[in-house]
Subunit: 315 residues, 2 copies
């Protein structure tokens, strides 16, 4: 189960990482009790489709204590200080594993995806917010208190807008290149240009989300393309910082907003190749997640598989 | 021997890390041949004071291949593609070790200084430029090609000035908080305020360097204090990025410009505590290098000691 700030995506995943059954829930704006019920309900739906499910893994957008599976803090879901693993084990009566959503996405890409074999890599998951994953020396790096890899909260413009959510920062990458940020920028652009496809969609009362901007950009709307390009250039500024500081072999871009693909990545690469330090900028590969928007779900399943069976794919 | 972009500081260091004899050379603006002669000369001076010297370690402001001790690229000295270790071994007829100056400073602080016992720590050396050191899981992290930890080249303002030297970036931390940047900002401030101590120093024909600004600030000149505070606030923006992304236990501030001490660190802390993500911002300690501006020299000596004797201080 991969819970983002907006949606829950779950699946029944076998030891070969084949997904047999998917479940979806919208979890935006729920209070804590509603959220817990919604998650339990999603797991039960998956179990009813595959009664031999042996364990559940969760990726959640939160700072999770690895030893206890308890949430320290979550910026996108009402889970602060919830003993998540204990609560879910009791409700589901099954072995439960939980980790930060981007850590599990990084794990999936490292064990079986785009970062397979890499020693030093970064992952950015562009979703409602932006999550980060770090791999150093072939191991997922969690920071001294498990609060590392908040790569959505590197500063790309100190005079930029206040970072949404509970982050007290200004001009964080998340404020410019997340799905939410793309939606906000898309809505502003739609108001300025009512004749664009984006403007017409707004006039028709559609919610201008990152997903809508991406859809219209893929359909060829110039305005939507420019909105994604601008987000991509900000992503590029963030990559200059990360690639200069950490010299990764590769940066994996995942999450729902990565559906924009080269519409964001090409402008990001351009900024990186112009402003990044040699040789770091030449050495790094910028790739999309092998598991796309499902990296978090697959990584959560890997946590669950680790609970039930010897590891199939060596780390 | 610790070579910065401006000065070489060397010393005869025993196995207890006591410094018995120091040598200084100014190495700014030399061509490659002059630089090599100056370095050899400094080593010979130290050796004549202590004929039992058994090996030489160098910290240099360059990207160094760990296996060969050859320089890939140096932004501050004319050493690009110089096989430094081989060249110095031949010239000095002694065992030679070499690494990036900030990596060796990090090593010194980790083995015997402010970061002793730390698992996850960062180091920023504020000198002519800004170097960086990273410690993850108790090991110095070098990046996938040894080019990591260029923490002076994280972007703090994408619309800021072009980064000096060979960096193609804009608004890097180094352009705001290095000794050179403080000198430039000090000179501008001195021109605006001829009645300040800084303005008078400029009128007397003194070069407005980071060291002069720091000296006058310690003497109480309000303008110099404000120049350091502004550099400190930019340092704080950089720390927000690094502390959010990497969740270190501590950040060690070293290098010559760290002589400004709390005049820079207090404003930096203020920005971090205002804009950094909890819990990262509360958990991190911001400390000055135990070895001050000599961390690089001590770390270089540790490299040399590792060549000659079993390790005295366990890593």
């Amino acid at each position: 189960m991969d819970a983002g700030g907006t949606k829950l995506l779950g699946g029944v995943v076998d030891a070969d990482l084949v997904v047999h059954h998917r479940v979806h829930r919208r979890i935006h704006g729920l209070d804590q009790a509603e959220l817990v019920e919604k998650i339990v309900d999603a797991v039960e739906e998956a179990r009813s489709a595959a009664p031999d499910v042996a364990a559940v893994g969760f990726g959640i957008p939160a700072l999770v204590r690895p030893e206890t599976g308890s949430v320290m803090v979550s910026n996108h879901l009402p889970l602060d200080r919830v003993p998540f693993r204990a609560l879910m084990s009791e409700r589901l009566d099954m072995p439960v594993a939980v980790d930060n959503d981007t850590n599990v996405a990084m794990l999936a890409e490292h064990r079986a995806g785009a970062a397979r074999g890499a020693e030093d890599a970064l992952m950015l998951t562009l979703g409602t917010g932006i999550g980060g994953g770090l791999l150093f020396g072939g191991e997922v790096y969690r920071g001294s208190a498990g609060a590392g890899a908040e790569l959505g909260h590197i500063v790309v413009d100190p005079n930029g807008p206040e970072c949404p959510g509970d982050c007290p920062g200004r001009g964080c990458l998340e404020a410019f290149a997340s799905g939410n940020a793309i939606g906000r920028a898309g809505e502003e652009a739609a108001r300025r240009s009512p004749d664009s496809a984006l403007g017409k969609a707004l006039a028709q009362g559609r919610e201008v989300s990152g997903a809508l901007v991406t859809e219209l950009a893929h359909d060829g709307d110039e305005l939507a393309i420019e909105v994604l390009a601008e987000a991509g250039r900000w992503l590029g500024v963030g990559l200059v910082t990360l690639v200069n500081a950490l010299n990764p072999e590769l940066v994996v871009i995942g999450g729902g907003a990565s559906a924009a693909g080269e519409l964001m990545l090409a402008p990001a690469r351009e900024v990186l190749s112009e402003r990044g330090l040699p040789p770091n900028r030449e050495l790094v590969k910028l790739v999309t997640a092998h598991f796309g928007g499902e990296a978090g779900m697959i990584g959560a399943a890997l946590l669950a598989l680790d609970l039930t069976a010897p590891r199939k794919v060596p780390e």
